[in-house]
């Protein structure tokens, strides 16, 4: 069996362990609640985390690129980028996969699996930085845009184009 088939066969085990490891990055008392399989609107972090992890596992058992990995990582990283994690804590959950693999895969499969995890990790760094940049942009421009732009339309302030404040992002 090749590595992708093995991963596919063991997907639910991987998912269970990976989800547990990811939720355990939260403080213990929070993890007990966020780890429950509750209604997705009552527990968005739990639900979105589970979905993202599953999508990533599906992706690596199939064809994938840096771009598709980043897309699958977006929902979970987007959340972790606004929680009180530092950068390494925010993406640490990816590395848990290596250890999980060791308990499930044989040595030769593990050797093929590790570089795949590295690729996920690299994509997660990229995604984390992009989310942080979005946050910094919102921080820097939010109130200027909302108030300043209204005044500008009314001709009450000297011309300062929205794009000067913003770059290309729409409001």
């Amino acid at each position: 069996m090749n590595i992708k088939q093995t991963l596919k066969e063991n997907k639910s085990l991987f998912l269970k362990k990976w989800f547990q490891a990811t939720i355990e990055t939260y403080p213990k008392d929070s993890a007990r609640i966020l780890g429950k399989d509750a209604n997705r609107f009552d527990n968005p972090v739990g639900a979105i985390t589970r979905e993202s992890l599953e999508n990533i596992l599906d992706l690596i058992t199939d064809k994938y690129s840096e771009e598709s990995l980043e897309k699958a990582l977006d929902p979970i990283i987007r959340i972790r980028a606004v929680q009180a994690f530092n950068a390494s804590e925010a993406v640490s959950f990816v590395f848990a996969l290596k250890k999980i693999g060791q308990g499930i895969l044989d040595d030769s499969h593990q050797r093929q699996f590790d570089p795949m995890v590295d690729q996920i990790a690299l994509a997660s760094f990229n995604k984390f930085m992009k989310c942080k940049e979005e946050i910094f942009l919102l921080k820097a421009t939010e109130s200027k845009r909302r108030v300043h732009r209204a005044f500008e339309r009314a001709g009450l302030v000297a011309e300062l184009k929205e794009n000067d404040l913003l770059g290309s992002k729409k409001s």
Partner: protein, 548 residues
């Protein structure tokens, strides 16, 4: 919903009883993290209001520059408030730590920080109360390790910093109170905590400076009367370009029927500005058709009240000017714009603070004859109640097709829904001006609505991570209706929401845009004598006019 857990199941392993010894250790001693806290109040703003201990300080520094006797001041402050506010005393005493509220707070759900569980947030202060104000606590505190045994702890600097950090991570939204079997309202506890902080000069700037501006110039942004008028003049020009109708309003008109007051965000910040144009059009329509005489005031130029997030006294000072202006102008009653916390102040506090406003008349809609019984004492009516009443009596001519490109859902502002029960009127108006309305899931709307994450003065820039984390439960539901029904519009009747939800959408669901309800009314309303409209109020082509 079948998988929904009962609180007992969800919390089976957590012991919220402080006697178990370790609840305060769920996270290491407080670390004030960038992105999660707001900057300190500027000394000038604190000084303007005559509040104590105006000085520059920084929450990240070790020394918060408190008066030497800060513990005594806070102890006395707690004591006075326990005597004055029965709710505070009860809320300090009756929590049984059942945990039903624990997973109901958007900040807990979004940040994953256990001290954002309402029960633990309240416990931060309750532990001090228990130590200093209960007999058991007082006795226990005399033996080594005794306080801890009784779930109490002395008010040290470390404890104060923790209180400050977490009570500025609560938007006073009251969602937790809906699920508490005892009706404990953690928002009220936060309100008390913030009053206490103000006694020793620990406000945040995003609250203190707007309050000081409002006190000096009449609105949170500190915009002077002539600029207020300039903005409305500019809206009038835009509306004339779009509709061919001149909607010039009245200012400070003595003897008008109604004084209209809206949050200044509608006049000065996008996208509230378009909602403001909707108001101007509605008043023009009512004047032409029915002779209704509405006046604006450049003095009472703020409906919002950030004093509410400071102290009862400050809230009262800001609230008073609306009534002073109504009295001066001799109007019959006050109509208020689309806002959230403005209405909580009016509905829950105004009457005991500055009321009864018996120099005004019980609000009656002169066009329909409807008596607004709910406003009998405060004399102030929310514009969606007013507009819903007009529509119900067939008094408005509306062309829904002009909003047919809007697939809309509605966000209940915490304050209008849980604070005053305004649930159906906005939906009724939306359904009469739009065809494509879809509700978000039932556990995220109406009384159970999730906060925008930026209420109660927390809509600053520096705490963006906190705001976006707190916004997650709301955004998650918006995203769901966006994906399922193609929703592209998030409607709201709150000025803070119009700004905060716009940012929420940019980060979480960029395909969705935020609209005030009266912007949609303005688009649909057929003004007497209007030209053929090709643009909406944002000057985008109307549906079907894209090619012309």
């Amino acid at each position: 919903m079948s998988k929904e857990l009962t609180p007992d199941e969800a919390l089976d392993k957590i012991n919220f009883t402080p006697k178990s010894g370790n609840w305060m250790d769920t996270t290491p001693s407080v670390q004030i993290k960038p992105g999660m806290y707001c900057y300190a109040a500027k000394a000038d703003s604190v000084k303007t209001l005559g509040l104590p201990n105006a000085r520059p300080w920084n929450p990240l520094e070790e020394d918060w520059k408190l008066p030497e006797n800060w513990q005594e001041i806070l102890h006395q402050g707690i004591k006075e408030r326990l005597e004055k506010f029965r709710t505070f005393k009860i809320f300090m005493d009756v929590c049984v730590r059942c945990g039903a509220c624990a997973d109901k707070c958007h900040f807990f759900l979004g940040t994953g920080d256990p001290k954002n569980m309402p029960v633990l947030r309240a416990e931060l202060l309750r532990s001090v109360y228990r130590n200093d104000f209960t007999t058991a606590g007082k006795i226990l505190s005399k033996i080594p390790g005794g306080s801890r045994l009784g779930g109490g702890r002395p008010l040290t600097m470390e404890v104060l910093k923790e209180l400050w950090y977490y009570f500025f991570q609560c938007t006073e939204c009251r969602r937790c109170s809906v699920f508490c079997p005892y009706g404990i309202d953690t928002a009220e506890i936060t309100i008390m905590a913030r009053e206490l902080f103000n006694l020793v000069g620990l406000n945040i700037d995003w609250i203190a400076t707007p309050v000081s501006n409002c006190f000096k110039t009449g609105n949170h942004l500190g915009i002077q009367p002539h600029a207020f008028k300039d903005m409305l003049d500019f809206f009038v020009e835009d509306i004339e370009e779009i509709t061919g109708v001149d909607c010039t309003p009245e200012y400070q008109k003595k003897g008008a029927d109604i004084l209209f007051i809206t949050p200044s965000g509608d006049v000065f910040a996008d996208p509230g500005t378009y909602t403001c144009q909707g108001y101007l059009m509605l008043f023009k329509y009512l004047k032409d058709k029915y002779g209704l005489d509405v006046t604006w005031s450049t003095y009472a130029s703020e409906g919002g009240n950030f004093g509410f997030f400071t102290s009862h006294e400050t809230m009262k000072r800001l609230n008073a000017k609306m009534y002073a202006e109504a009295k001066r102008l001799g109007v019959k009653w006050i109509l208020g714009g689309e806002c959230g916390h403005m209405w909580r102040v009016i509905h829950q506090y105004m009457d005991t603070m500055n009321g009864p406003a018996d120099f005004l008349e019980v609000p009656v809609n002169p066009i329909t004859g409807t008596v607004f019984e709910n406003a009998r004492s405060t004399k102030m009516v929310h514009i969606t109640e007013f507009t819903a009443d007009l529509i119900k009596h067939n008094k408005l001519e509306l062309d829904k097709s002009r909003n047919s490109n809007r697939v809309i859902t509605y966000h209940d502002s915490c304050n209008t829904s849980r604070g005053m029960g305004l649930l159906d009127e906005p939906r009724y108006v939306i359904n009469n001006v739009c065809d494509n309305f879809y509700e978000m899931p039932s556990n995220t709307i109406r009384e159970q609505t999730f906060c925008c994450g930026s209420g109660s003065g927390l809509n600053a820039g520096e705490n963006m991570e906190l705001r976006m984390a707190g916004a997650l439960p709301r955004a998650n539901a918006v995203k769901y209706v966006h994906e399922k029904f193609g929703v592209n519009t998030l409607g709201t009747v709150c000025a803070i929401d119009r700004a905060a939800l716009s940012t929420l959408c940019e980060y979480w669901v960029p395909e969705v845009e935020v609209y005030g309800i009266h912007e949609l009314v303005g688009n649909a309303l057929i003004l007497p004598g209007e030209i053929k409209r090709t643009q909406d109020l944002r000057m985008e082509p109307l549906p079907g006019m894209e090619e012309e």
